[in-house]
Each structure stands twice: as structure tokens, then as C-alpha cells.
């Protein structure tokens, strides 16, 4: 009766052994007394029932082949990581972060005045001349530009917005859109709003590359970069921006409490007003302060806005 029940036990929800090369019930297999070693530690080894029977080894050494294969693969992947923008059949080849990992300098070594995070406020005299301000970036740009237009009217600036939905720094870095709009509107001040669409990226070093390219494209024009509003902690994206951008040019929106629209990512129009006001309060501490007095309630200016669509 007991045996029957034990057999039924194997039909319970808990699985029985059914592993390739393994006995159906290892417990029963190994419970026989002849598998037991009664010797003391250090005595002669006992024989043990053969549970699995691997096939006989061949003479040639597969380990050598495997070692060569793995070593060669690592060499190839490493070599590719050292190439500048490698391509294969015209397609970009993504790089493993070997190069960055191997040649990354410790922060204390690389922290030049230009890359130091904004630990202390930058004291720079405010430029009181009127500006042609270009705000460009992802879909957050639309929200920022609405309020900035009012700041522009109040302070004598003209605000132009270029909103490219779903865009990332990479798209802007690889196109000539920035140069086009700088020329078109004779821009002498830039606000960048990018990062929301790659906020949770993990390959931060390759992202930093595009951020640097955007800074290059902006050139000598004073600029600030408005960081993306997080709705949860990122993987170091904001830290990367802070590290990569010149001191005093990065406004960290981060975990700022902003009321969200139904999509849970874009701030509501009211929250966007508060957001821009926060940026403007920070402006005097930035590397490139300009006049940003709070606009009067009566001002109802709308920005000159260009909406770009992502290529599909």
C-alpha cells in the first residue's frame, strides 16, 4: 500500500526527475547501501554507481579549438570597439564598451574645469542684450517653447522652437538640422531639450559621443541643456549629461515633481510653466546667463515653432 502511494507521489504536482542522462529517481538509485562509502576522510576512494555515461573522449583536443574560438572572438570584439564608427556593408556596427572600459580615466583625473559638474554656482555676468533664442529637441520642446516665448517678449528676446518628436541626441548629432536653423534665424542663444527618449539607456558612453557632437555643432553660441524629466530613476543618463556637458550648461530636471499629462511622461501645460520658471530661476547660476525676468501675466506671445516628424 505504501509503495503504491509512493508511486503516486511522483504524479503529484511536484516534478519527478526527467533529466537527460539522469536516473528517473535519483533518490532510489543512490539509496542502496553499496553506494555508500564507509571509509574515513582521506581513505581510498569508493566506487560509485555510474549515473551518466559520457561518450568516450576522442584523441584530438576540442579544448584548443574552443579556446581559439573564444580568444579570437574577444580579439575581434575588442578591436571593433577601438575603431571609429565602424560599418559593415554600409551599416553601423555597434561596439562593445571594451575601449571605454579599458581606457576610462578615473573621474578625479579627467575632471577639467570644463567637465566638472555644477557643484557650485558659476558666477558669470548676465548678458543683457536681446537674443535670438533657438529651443530645439524632442517633444518636450513644444512645452518649453510656449513659456519661453513669453519670457522672450518680456526680456526682448525672440524665441524659435524646433520640435522633433521622438528624437534623440543621435538624430540631431547626425543631421545638419541644428546648423540649418541657426543660420535661418540668426541664432545667438541655444536651449537644448533632449534625452527623454533614451532616458533609460545603458550604453552611456556611446550616448555621450552624440551629446558631444551636438555641443560641437552649436559651436561658440552660448547654450544651456535642459535635462529630461524623469518619472523614475534612470541608469545614470542624467549623470552622463552632467559629466559630458561643460560646466554650468546643464539644468538637471531629473526627479522634479511635475504634474503629468495622461501619457504620464509629458508635463501638463501648467507644470511646464513651473518647469520653465525653475530653469529661468537657475539661469543666473548658469555659464551663460541672459535676462530672464518673469513675464507679466498679460503677455500672450506664442513661439515660432517648427514641428519635425521622425522618419519612419
Amino acid at each position: 500500500m505504501k509503495e503504491e502511494n509512493e508511486e503516486e507521489t511522483r504524479d503529484s504536482g511536484l516534478s519527478e526527475y526527467n533529466i537527460e542522462g539522469q536516473e528517473p529517481d535519483a533518490k532510489e538509485t543512490s539509496a542502496t547501501s553499496d553506494t555508500l562509502d564507509t571509509s574515513e576522510p582521506g581513505e581510498e576512494e569508493h566506487s560509485v554507481e555510474d549515473i551518466s555515461a559520457p561518450e568516450p573522449p576522442k584523441k584530438h583536443h576540442a579544448y584548443l579549438g574552443l579556446w581559439l574560438l573564444v580568444s579570437l572572438s574577444i580579439i575581434v570584439v575588442m578591436a571593433v570597439s577601438f575603431l571609429e564608427e565602424p560599418t559593415l556593408f554600409g551599416l553601423e556596427v555597434k561596439q562593445a564598451p571594451f575601449r571605454d572600459a579599458l581606457l576610462a580615466e578615473a573621474e578625479e583625473d579627467t575632471a577639467t574645469p570644463d567637465t566638472l559638474p555644477v557643484a557650485k554656482p558659476v558666477v558669470v555676468e548676465t548678458d543683457s542684450t536681446p537674443k535670438n533664442i533657438l529651443i530645439f529637441g524632442d517633444s518636450m520642446t513644444f512645452l518649453l517653447a510656449q513659456r519661453m516665448a513669453k519670457y522672450g517678449t518680456q526680456n526682448g528676446h525672440t524665441v524659435y522652437g524646433v520640435n522633433w518628436d521622438s528624437s534623440t541626441p543621435q538624430i540631431w548629432a547626425m543631421s545638419d538640422t541644428i546648423a540649418h536653423f541657426i543660420r535661418k534665424y540668426d541664432i545667438n542663444y541655444v536651449m537644448v531639450s533632449l534625452g527623454s527618449n533614451e532616458l533609460f539607456a545603458k550604453d552611456l558612453d556611446s550616448r555621450a559621443k552624440y551629446v558631444k557632437k551636438i555641443v560641437e555643432k552649436i559651436g561658440d553660441i552660448p547654450f544651456i541643456w535642459v535635462g529630461p524629466p524623469n518619472w523614475k530613476e534612470d541608469n545614470g543618463y542624467n549623470d552622463m549629461l552632467e559629466r559630458t556637458l561643460p560646466r554650468g550648461t546643464f539644468f538637471r530636471t531629473g526627479m522634479m515633481q511635475l504634474a503629468r499629462r495622461g501619457d504620464h511622461i509629458h508635463p501638463t501645460p501648467d507644470a511646464a510653466v513651473l518647469w520653465v520658471d525653475s530653469i529661468m530661476r537657475w539661469m543666473p547660476k548658469s555659464a551663460h546667463p541672459i535676462l530672464v525676468d518673469v513675464p507679466a501675466d498679460s503677455i500672450n506671445t506664442t513661439p515660432t515653432l517648427t514641428i519635425l516628424k521622425k522618419k519612419r
Binding site: S15, A26, P41, K58
Partner: protein
């Protein structure tokens, strides 16, 4: 010249940093640093394999280093507890008095479980205690050593097996710690039984070419499952689970199905890598996942899902509780309790307890319905219906496993039944094309007959070396490419 010397110096310093303990970057089999070490490990292992003692010392050293890289000085705890268990196992084995042996067995089991309990469940206990007595205990600052749940279960089964005289203790402590700390399965299983593993260690047979190349194939499959598919599809699933209630019925449905596949790829992918690495070293660990979502009932599911854990629970919890030998009610109760413990093993939170309990309930219901189910004709329609019921039940329970809390789980499940609009589907597929393709491929692959998978593995094993190299490189490059790709977080059609 000076610049090159500086770069070399910098690279050496960075390599040293990478080799040091860093809780943020545990050494995973899919990481570059592991493979860099592996190319040094492999030739030494191959050379030392002839001498069993030298091989054991080398592998134990490497395994402890592997553990140090993930858990720091906790590797000393692993070594220490293994020494205690090994000594106790010998006392158990040598003693002729049943009472003494039983007491020593319980001493060892309690010792192992108390360490696990402290690190894994102390704060859970405190939190519940606070809630019950309105107390004000602060949670303790406890770091959970990586893999402690796995090696604790291994040590418990070892001691119990010695007590029951199913196995003899290992001759030396080195053999025992080799078994306990064997790096391929140290941090995430499978939970290997001593009676299966130790004989292989004693024989110390060299891996055959089939084992080596088959192992590499499993590693490739595991890397693709874990580092490519699971990590990529997780990005969308995370959005759904981090913001319950926001998404429409279709989006939530995709998130739930996505998580069902993600957790399978994650767990089984890592298991595949572990089994593959062990195979390269000449050890068989058995299979741990056997296309679990093909199951047509919950009982079958647990025979296919995390096989090493479910069989451990059967042998060391369910059967000792009485199994099905004490009547129908006790059988159901034992099933339920076993799954409850299985749930708690997965994590110190009530959501895991609930998840385990519901699996226990499901198993009991299936058992109770068996007489009726046997009368139902076995055809494609009934097979499909039972498969669908099982898949839906398992998927819904994964919601409780993944969501932040019970309320979030309920909200997500509610959203599965509201706000459906199939017109969203083309838009969803367009915006998340890679995600959809990956999911479709995954589902198709999951239902491919095992013999097809075996055939592909066989083709790989027999393929020329250069083909193997290309396949391996392609897999690695795929992982690198998708490592930096994101699923579109939100669809931007508002403007």
C-alpha cells in the same frame, strides 16, 4: 611612446578595477569580463584536468573568486559554512545512534537555514512584526549574498541525503566545497544534487568534443535568451509594470505576455549558460527548463519549469510532509504548503507567498479534477483548451510575481479587461517592431519540437570550426547591438 605606456598603464589599472569586488557589477556569464577570464581559465583547467586534486583546487579557487567578485567577503562565509556542514555530515555518517544522527542533521539544516533566514528574511520578519504590533523597529542594513538560496538548498539536500544514507560524505572538504561552489551553477542554479554531481567529480572524466561544442551551443542559446531577448523585451514590460493602470487593455496584455516570456528567457537562459559551461568542463547538470509553456496542466508545468527546484521541493519538503501517503486532504495541504515555501524561496515578500500559494491551489485543483479530466477525450481541441487555461493561469500569476505589490497586480489585471481597442494593434506593432518580432520568434521557437532543437544543436556540433566562430561572433554582436537599443517607451502622437 610615452602615450602608449600611459594608455597601457591606464588599461591595466582599469582591468584591476574590473576584477575587484563591485556590488553593482556582479560577474555574469554574459559579461565581457567573464569571457576575458575564461580564456585564462580554460587552458589551465584543461592542463590540470588530468590531476583530479589539482583540478579541484584550481576550480574551487576560481569559484570562490567568482563569488568574491559578486558578493565580496561573503565568499569566506560560503567557505566557512561549507566546512561546518561537511564536518557535521561526517559526524552524522559515522554515528550509530539514530537520535544523535537526527539531532546533528537538524543542527546542520538549522544552521544553513538560519543563515539564509537572517540574510533573506530578517527584514521581512521585522516588517511584518512592525505591522502586527505597531512597532517601530528599523529595517536592518543587510546585503543579501548572491546565490545564497541556491547553495543553501544544495547543502541541506546534501546533509539530509547523508543522514538518510543515500550518499556518503565526500572524502575531503575540497570535494564538498567544489560541489557547493561550482561556479557555473553557484549564483543562479540549477540546484544540483550531490548524488548526481559527486560521482562525476570522482570519475573526473574529460569532456568529449560533443560535450564541449554542445556546451558552447547551450551558452550561445543562453546568451541570446538572457542578454538579447529577456533584457530587450524587459524594457517595455517594465513600463507596463511600473505604471499600472495607465495602459490600455492591449498594451497591458502585451506587457503581461511579454513578462511571461521574459521570465522564462531570463531564468532558462542563465540555466542554459550554466549547463553549457559545466558541460565544457566535463560535468552534466541535467536540464532545468523543458519548454514549460507547452504544458497542458499545472502539474506538467512544474515538471518542466525549474526542474531542479521543483524536484528539490518534492524530495525535501513535500515527501517529508507526508506527500500523498496521508489521505486526500493532507495531499492537497502538502502540495499547498510546499508551493507556499517555494514561493517564499523566490523572495521575501507576501507577493511571492501569494504566487506560491496560488500555484499550490492550482495543483490541488488539478489533482482533484483528475478523475473527471481522464474522461474527457484527448484531441486537439481539448489539448488546446487545457493548454490555454494553463498558460493564462500561469501568466496571470506572473503578474503577482512581477508587480510591485498586490494592488498594482490587481490594477494590471483589471486593465487587461478594460479599454481594449484593436485599432491600436498596427500602431503598437509599428512603434515596437523589434519587440513584436522578438516576441513572435520566441513564441514560435518555444513550440518547436525538441527534436528540431536537438537537430540544430547537432548541426552546430558537427559544423566546421570557422562556422562555429561565425555563429558565436554573430550571437555576441547581436547582443551588443541590442544592448544599446531601447524599446520606444511611449508613442508620440500627441502633437
Amino acid at each position: 611612446m610615452e602615450e602608449i605606456a600611459t594608455q597601457v598603464q591606464l588599461a591595466l589599472r582599469n582591468i584591476a578595477d574590473m576584477l575587484a569586488y563591485d556590488p553593482e557589477t556582479p560577474m555574469l556569464f554574459s559579461s565581457g569580463i567573464f569571457w576575458l577570464l575564461f580564456i585564462f581559465f580554460l587552458p589551465v583547467y584543461a592542463l590540470l584536468k588530468k590531476s583530479r586534486t589539482k583540478m579541484v583546487i584550481f576550480v574551487v579557487g576560481f569559484s570562490l573568486y567568482f563569488y568574491y567578485k559578486s558578493s565580496g567577503l561573503f565568499f569566506l562565509m560560503l567557505a566557512g559554512t561549507s566546512a561546518v556542514d561537511w564536518m557535521l555530515s561526517w559526524h552524522i555518517f559515522r554515528s550509530r545512534k539514530k537520535g544523535v544522527r537526527l539531532a546533528l542533521m537538524w543542527l546542520s539544516v538549522c544552521f544553513s537555514l538560519s543563515i539564509l533566514g537572517y540574510f533573506k528574511y530578517a527584514n521581512f520578519f521585522l516588517w511584518n512584526w512592525n505591522a502586527m504590533v505597531q512597532g517601530n523597529f528599523q529595517p536592518m542594513d543587510i546585503i543579501l549574498p548572491v546565490g545564497i538560496s541556491f547553495y543553501t538548498f544544495q547543502s541541506v539536500s546534501y546533509v539530509v541525503d547523508v543522514y538518510k544514507r543515500r550518499i556518503a560524505p565526500t572524502r575531503s572538504w575540497l570535494d564538498y566545497i567544489f560541489y557547493l561552489s561550482f561556479f557555473p551553477q553557484l549564483v543562479a542554479g540549477p540546484i544540483v544534487r550531490a548524488d548526481y554531481f559527486l560521482p562525476q567529480l570522482r570519475r573526473n572524466e574529460r569532456a568529449t568534443p560533443n560535450m564541449i561544442w554542445g556546451g558552447l551551443w547551450l551558452i550561445i542559446v543562453g546568451i541570446i535568451k538572457k542578454a538579447l531577448i529577456a533584457d530587450y523585451i524587459a524594457q517595455y514590460n517594465d513600463l507596463v509594470f511600473n505604471d499600472p493602470g495607465f495602459y490600455t487593455g492591449l498594451q497591458a496584455f502585451m506587457g503581461v505576455i511579454g513578462y511571461t516570456m521574459q521570465i522564462y528567457c531570463d531564468f532558462s537562459g542563465y540555466s542554459d549558460m550554466a549547463i553549457g559551461l559545466a558541460s565544457i568542463m566535463g560535468f552534466r547538470l541535467g536540464i532545468n527548463f523543458d519548454s514549460p509553456y507547452q504544458s497542458r496542466n499545472l502539474t506538467e508545468f512544474w515538471r518542466r519549469w525549474h526542474i531542479s527546484l521543483s524536484s528539490w521541493l518534492r524530495d525535501y519538503v513535500y515527501i517529508p510532509l507526508g506527500g500523498n501517503r496521508k489521505g486526500v486532504f493532507r495531499t492537497y495541504l502538502n502540495n499547498f504548503l510546499t508551493m507556499l515555501i517555494g514561493g517564499l524561496w523566490h523572495g521575501a515578500a507576501w507577493k511571492f507567498v501569494f504566487w506560491g500559494a496560488m500555484h499550490g491551489v492550482g495543483l490541488a485543483v488539478h489533482k482533484a479534477c483528475k478523475p473527471v479530466l481522464k474522461k474527457i477525450p484527448d484531441n486537439f481541441a481539448t489539448d488546446f483548451l487545457f493548454w490555454l487555461m494553463t498558460f493564462v493561469y500561469v501568466s496571470l500569476l506572473w503578474v503577482f510575481f512581477r508587480a510591485a505589490d498586490f494592488q498594482a497586480s490587481v490594477t494590471i489585471i483589471e486593465s487587461l479587461f478594460t479599454g481594449w481597442d484593436l485599432r491600436e494593434f498596427p500602431e503598437f506593432c509599428t512603434e515596437r517592431a523589434a519587440w513584436c518580432i522578438m516576441m513572435a520568434a520566441l513564441i514560435v521557437m518555444h513550440f518547436v519540437p525538441q527534436r528540431w532543437a536537438d537537430y540544430v544543436q547537432d548541426v552546430f556540433i558537427r559544423a566546421p570550426w570557422i562556422i562555429k566562430l561565425i555563429v558565436f561572433l554573430c550571437a555576441v554582436q547581436l547582443v551588443i547591438s541590442f544592448m544599446s537599443a531601447e524599446v520606444q517607451p511611449f508613442i508620440y502622437f500627441q502633437f
